[in-house]
């Protein structure tokens, strides 16, 4: 193949799986893209990058960083070079996620009903009952089709040999899918001929599948059920996503104050009176959903909505109480769940996880903290975690004190070296660390995963943190046909 200027300057990171570069050559599935890029002049690429930035800005594709204080609304940094996944890799990932989700759904059904898995001693009871997201209000509450996880954003990473690992199961309010959709739209404008040439599978079906699933959950058998997307409001980091999804599905975008509960039914206030709501795709945390039952100081919720949910007059997506399944202490037991419920060997691997409530494991972690990542069991967004290798002694000591206050709230994992993919920066290609979040949709007809996902990039050289809230960016994710 043609030796490209970009390729010859590319310096893969030692000991790290590179998505593009393998065994002293460009991997086959990247060759078409690199060929194409080498035909473009440096000015052309710079122009494309500039165009991408403007498109993001003019279309308001933004997210909010809370800690920065100023300006707060930012465009999500976008790298123009796509991340490419082969047919085989995707088939593996798809199969693995479906298996995992099936088991997690069965686990939620079980833990809120018979608790077989606890009685058989597979998952320690203490971990369940001490999880703040194990909601006793969900006990024996029937949910439509026994589906708890309607939307999952399972985070995958690849170790130095390219093995896929699950890093987190996000089963409550996974976000980022709008960036998957928008990134593709931008790529269509940047490289219009490249997508068909490379046989890239489409992701545009996502809102249609989600809408179809939401429709099927309607408790009322009517031709035109009312579906709403419940957002915390305009100050939420993912508000752009809430508006995008509502628009693409053609459903109402509401806040808690737009809804009211009357006799166990949820109504939306409209200019022509109250309209009964059948399905709620909520992006509000459990704790804020119903001030009557959960956090009484919530202004975002709808008082009495839990009663409507319990009586089956409204469907809520994702189900309430899912946090017990994506708790990072429970995560360690997912491979066991797969064996227990499905009688199958787990396809996707788990990252080894140390429970800090266990004294022996805690001692080990404290002794080897330089090789560890310590996380809060109920945190997300990369907030409040400790990267042992990149922290000062003082930071580590402070964090240890924090851990000892309530060890149940922390887990530790060995630092996994994320795979790298080429990014266009400073006029050339440079490897940066990436992860992958495919979006799985679970409906009465089964689990569907649109071929693609959100690839997040740690834009800083050497960084392993890809969270958008921590200075990460994203790439378009191509799954080849």
């Amino acid at each position: 193949m043609q030796e490209s200027a970009y390729f010859s300057q590319y310096n893969p990171i030692k000991g790290v799986w590179d998505e593009m570069y393998g065994e002293n050559n460009i991997r086959d599935h990247y060759s078409k893209v690199i060929d194409y890029l080498s035909r473009e002049s440096a000015e052309d690429l710079a122009r494309k990058e500039e165009l991408a930035k403007r498109l993001f800005m003019s279309q308001g594709i933004t997210f909010t960083v809370y800690s920065s204080g100023e300006g707060i609304e930012k465009i999500f940094p976008f790298d123009i070079i796509p991340r490419i996944i082969t047919v085989d890799e995707w088939a593996f990932v798809e199969k693995g996620i479906k298996q995992r989700l099936n088991a997690l759904n069965l686990f939620l059904k079980d833990v809120y009903n018979n608790q077989f898995i606890v009685k058989d001693g597979i998952v320690p009871i203490d971990i369940i009952y001490s999880c703040p997201h194990f909601l006793r209000e969900m006990y024996q509450l029937e949910v439509p089709y026994d589906i708890y996880v309607h939307i999952a954003g399972i985070d995958l990473i690849r170790d130095h040999d390219g093995t896929f690992y699950v890093l987190e199961d996000n089963l409550r309010t996974p976000s980022g899918v709008s960036y998957m959709l928008e990134n593709r739209e931008i790529t269509k404008r940047l490289f219009p001929d490249l997508l068909p040439q490379c046989c890239v599978r489409s992701v545009t079906e996502y809102p249609n599948i989600l809408y179809k699933n939401l429709l099927s959950l309607s408790p009322r058998q009517i031709s035109n059920p009312t579906i709403v997307l419940l957002s915390p409001g305009i100050y939420n980091s993912a508000y752009f996503e809430h508006t995008t999804l509502a628009r693409l599905m053609g459903v109402e975008l509401v806040e808690g104050r737009d809804l009211v509960v009357k006799n166990q039914k949820v109504y939306m206030k409209t200019t022509v009176g109250l309209q009964q709501v059948d399905v709620i795709y909520r992006r509000v945390d459990d704790d804020y959903l119903d001030p009557l039952v959960f956090n009484p100081s919530s202004i975002l919720g709808v008082a009495g909505i839990m009663g409507a949910y319990r009586t089956g007059n409204v469907a809520i997506v994702n189900a309430i109480g899912n946090g017990v399944a994506d708790d990072k202490a429970v995560y360690a037991y997912v491979p066991e769940m797969i064996k227990y419920y499905l009688n199958e060997e787990p396809i996707l691997k788990n990252v080894p996880t140390f429970q800090l409530s266990n004294i022996d494991e805690r001692q080990y972690v404290f002794g080897n903290i330089n090789k560890m990542v310590v996380k809060k069991t109920n945190g997300s967004g990369g907030y409040g975690m400790l990267m042992g290798h990149a922290s000062t002694d003082e930071e580590i000591d402070d964090y240890k004190k924090e851990i000892l206050k309530d060890p149940r709230n922390f887990i530790a994992q060995p630092t996994i070296s994320l795979s790298a993919a080429p990014c266009y920066m400073q006029g050339g290609l440079h490897p940066r660390r990436i992860d992958l979040r495919p979006y799985a949709l679970c409906g009465p007809e089964g689990i569907e995963i649109v071929p693609g996902g959100l690839t997040r990039v740690a834009l800083k050289e050497g960084s392993l943190v890809v969270n958008s809230s921590q200075g990460g960016g994203s790439k378009d994710t191509w799954v080849l046909a």
Partner: protein, 326 residues
């Protein structure tokens, strides 16, 4: 078999009409071998439909909404209930055996919930105290009695110094409170030595001339799990066994699992809450408290109160909206 007629009135008065209220009531006496509800009527102003369900702890819970503007909300519960004296635990099993039996319950449902400890500033003091207080050859039953006596002797019964939001830290510093605080501290002490303990809400029905703490309003006490016996009611506010004169409404981990009446509404954040509980007996001796004679109940204020100041309310909303998405 004593029979009691109970009338429990709860009245919310708002300075200006409020609307869209959603409420939850746990006012249905538990039915079991020692307590039988012969008749119960619940009337709520505005006649809303009450939907009932059984919660995780087995309590019957009612929920209702009231959308139209209203300036008062009156919940009137009339109960005719019969109770039976329950014999007390015997002393025929070796203490060591009983403590061992309790140890086995540690990781079992439902006991795991009733053994969970909460940490507060005085935790270590309380732990030391409990260890010192417990005598070496005590049976769990004897430990229960001893701890109840301790709470009764060392905490002052003063109305109005605490509320449902008072934390363990504050109670510990004050060394005073009302029935719910006494029950709270006793459950914690029992859990510290490995005796499963739960919170109970209900009514106290004393006989004729005798007066007891907790009359005229809803009462609260604790239940301790005694091996080979079951749940034993213990009332630290009166330092007595809760038996046929204590009517149980609900059990749970703490007050908020059992809160008899709570609600959320839209409108003025100020409101006044009055509660009255009147008890009549099988021989028709009237209670000291006449029906409708309200006792202002500052300790029950479960309604959501938002900051009155609109700026602060706006800032609070802003803060809440920024919840992290996964």
């Amino acid at each position: 078999m004593p029979e009691f007629k109970i009338q429990h009135l709860t009245k919310y008065t708002y300075p200006a009409p409020v609307r869209d209220s959603a409420n939850q009531i746990i006012l249905y006496p538990i039915q079991d071998d020692y307590q039988e509800v012969i008749k119960q009527e619940i009337h709520i102003s505005g006649d809303p439909v009450i939907d009932t369900f059984i919660d995780y702890y087995g309590n019957k819970v009612g929920s209702f909404t009231y959308s139209e503007p209203h300036s008062t909300l009156l919940i009137n519960s009339k109960i005719l209930v019969q109770t039976k004296y329950r014999p007390l635990p015997g002393n025929d099993i070796f203490p060591a055996q009983q403590w061992q039996d309790l140890e086995k319950l540690r990781y079992m449902v439902p006991f795991i919930d009733f053994l969970r400890l909460e940490y507060f500033d005085g935790f270590d003091d309380l732990k030391a105290l409990v260890e010192a207080e417990k005598s070496k050859d005590d049976t769990p039953y004897q430990a229960v009695l001893r701890f109840s006596r301790y709470v009764y002797d060392n905490f002052q019964y003063i109305k109005g110094v605490t509320s449902v939001e008072t934390t363990m830290d504050e109670i510990w510093k004050l060394k005073a409170g009302v029935c719910q605080d006494f029950a709270h501290i006793l459950t914690l002490m029992l859990r510290l030595v490995g005796i499963p303990a739960r919170y109970v809400s209900g009514y106290i029905c004393t006989h004729h001339s005798a007066t007891m703490r907790g009359e005229g309003a809803t009462h609260a006490w604790a239940e301790a799990y005694i091996p080979d016996y079951g749940w034993l009611g213990i009332d630290p506010t009166n330092n007595c066994i809760a038996n046929e004169a204590h009517i149980r409404l609900a059990v749970g981990r703490n007050f908020s699992d059992c809160s008899p009446v709570k609600g959320v509404y839209k409108g003025a954040s100020d409101h006044r809450l009055d509660v009255s509980v009147a008890v009549g007996y099988e021989d028709d001796t009237p209670s000291m408290h006449q029906p409708g004679e309200f006792i202002e109940a500052p300790e029950h204020k479960p309604m959501t109160t938002f900051p009155k100041n609109s700026y602060q309310r706006y800032m609070e909303m802003l803060q809440q909206q920024q919840q992290q998405q996964q």
